[in-house]
Amino acid sequence: MATFGVIVFPGSNCDHDAYHAMKHIMNSKVKFLWHKDTDLSGIDFLIVPGGFSYGDYLRSGAIARFSPIMQEVVKFAEKGGPVLGICNGFQILLEAGLIPGAMMHNQDLRFVCKNVFIRCETTDSLFTNTLTKGQVFDIPVSHGEGNYHINESGLKSLQDQDQILFRYSDADGNLTEESNFNGSIDHIAGITNDGRNVLGMMPHPERAMEKLLGSDDGKIIFDSILNSLSVA
């Protein structure tokens, strides 16, 4: 059975949600990894959780990427190890250069905490292989800096190489202007690296695991991940 590792930085606040999601909902093995740890042995899948690592000083994720464990995460990812960065985790992966681009403040400068819809754009990834292209999910977002930016050639390469996994849409899967609440370029909610083993996404699948709490659509992504790990 695959073992998940959830990294804990000073200021992480979705680490326990991720742990709970994997252990109690997905019935998987999971352990916390402190940011000063450097031993990733026995870990099959890494989750870089959301929060405000190091108080978001300088830029979101800018300090966390220099944590001892991040050097190991980079090595793990470069060897093809699967990594999921959620929210602040996405920002850290961007700062670490594992995924191209950068995050800016939301276009209206507001911290947005609500449920939104995202649309699956490709099933060609270990994170989305049990999904259907065009499938729409109900999933929470909670961020002030989720306005994804990349230059024109970078965007073209993301599009050409099918690296955009999720876009913000309305409930029917239409890419309306209102649905792109944070101003992200090309409605981007989640992208993978060119090796397709690292996913960064702003929405929180680990917070959408139980119908009782609003939505369990986040499970679909973890089902896909578990499916990929079991056949790998």
Binding site: L58, R59, A62, F66, E95, P100, G101, A102, M104, H105, N106, Q107, D108, L109, N147, H149, I150, N151, G183
Partner: protein, 81 residues
């Protein structure tokens, strides 16, 4: 010891929502001569180095690796005499 001053600003091509909000507030104050506002960061560094050239190298490295994100930001370095 060299005192370096670093200005980090968003690249001109990038929309600056904070600057835009501040500009709007200035207009509300009646300061309509202000045409544009761009907000950045100002960082001071005390650097131990034998020469200004050596200090510049250190500060450039600090900027490129941490202080600025070159995907969206530019930086300018100057030294206090």
């Amino acid at each position: 010891m060299y005192k370096a001053k670093v200005n980090v600003t968003l690249r001109p091509s990038i929309l600056d929502p904070k600057g835009k909000a501040a500009h709007h507030a200035l207009q509300n104050l009646g300061l309509n001569d202000v045409q544009q506002v761009r907000i950045g960061k100002f960082i001071e560094l005390d650097v131990n180095a034998d020469s200004k050239e050596a200090a510049t190298k250190v500060v450039e490295s600090a900027c490129a690796q941490l202080l600025a994100n070159e995907v969206m930001e530019d930086y300018e370095i100057s030294f206090e005499d």
